[in-house]
Amino acid sequence: MTVLFGIFLLTMLVITAVAIVRTRNLFVAVMLLGIFSLLLAINFFLLDAADVALTEAAVGAGISTVLFIAALALTSERERESTSRRWLSLFVVASAALVIVYATFDKPRFGDPNAPVLQHIGPWYLQQTPEYIGIPNVVTAVLGSFRGYDTLGEVFVVFTAGIGVLFLLSARGSGSGRRRPRSDDTEIGLRDEVLLRVVGRLLVPFILLFGLYVQFHGEYGPGGGFQAGALIAAAFILYALIEGEERTLHALPQRVLNVLMVGGAMLYGAVGVTGMLMGSKFLDYSVLAADAVAGQKIGIILIEAGVGMTVCGVLLNIFHAFASRDRVQ
């Protein structure tokens, strides 16, 4: 049954991908991308990867759709017809696809119990997590502690992306020349739409609460810093959509966002360095407390907080960077 669902969802994914490429209307493409992410999230969930599914649904279907639409509001809705080099790009894409398909022949079959990943490292994580880390969600243990280096890298990738977007869209926060008085919709949001305002304001605190739940429940169930950061950012983006940017920046100023963005990444690094100063290796949390397991728990909570802060700060910064720009042309 699960295999049947999987095949159905993967077929839908391919259809959606083809539709995204074929449509000339960028607005339709953005909506299809949201559907694509949602289908992918269901697929991850079918494969028991609830943490990844939550991230994909929150970031792929939620935040990136809003960011794309914010970007589209600055440009045109229709894709410009490109005529040059079509065959060349088709050739490049087709050969890359052939290489990838050829590479999959060497992969173990789906669910094969003799697959290398199920032979040594996977069972080791499953067996040793209760002993070393003492938390039920093995995904968080692997992500936060066993493979803390990878996650540190991911946080810095997100951080770098945020810095890059802010540079490209001429970073704000210097204060001068940014707040041009504008009369169009982004300033006042949807303040005239009473129904949307009422419902939106009703939802914002619950989304924030759910974000905090996902943040701090990551040790016990699906969730963690990435998902929580995206959810909390989503709550503020919803607020910005209904109440306008001005009020959102008043509630959560640019300075705070920058501090969140930088502080999260630094908190992660600082936890690692603290481990070194206390006489162990970088990102070894066992020495953070007298008891090794308690130290691991403290370390994971701290680095997850850092991840959440950075993700939330970066996403909101990117959103504001798009929303505060004037329409080109």
Binding site: E193, L195, L196, V199, L202, L203, F206
Partner: protein, 117 residues
Amino acid sequence: MDLLQDVMSWVLLTAGGLFVLIGGIGALRMPNLYTRMHAASVTDTMGAALVLGGIMLQAGFSLATIKLVAILLFLLITSPTSSYALASAALIAGIRPDAGSGSDHPTGETTPTEGPE
């Protein structure tokens, strides 16, 4: 699990699936935007409520049921609101409810309201 509970649950799930199907057919077959929305809103409200009710019976009295109730409440608040936002945006964009691009539908019936039932 109780047999009666199981049967009830499957009745609800089947009925919900039927409403989703009807909504899907309606969204494809209806002549213009507002009538299509009217059809599609059936999936959001009746379909979702019945399917969630069926899953609640499957879950029994547990934490999962409370989460399902929360999801149902969320859907009951947000889906009519999003229908309203869509219809309102379409009206602002200049799509008249009676435009009926090649529609064979009587114009009197194509109201821009979204029926929650």
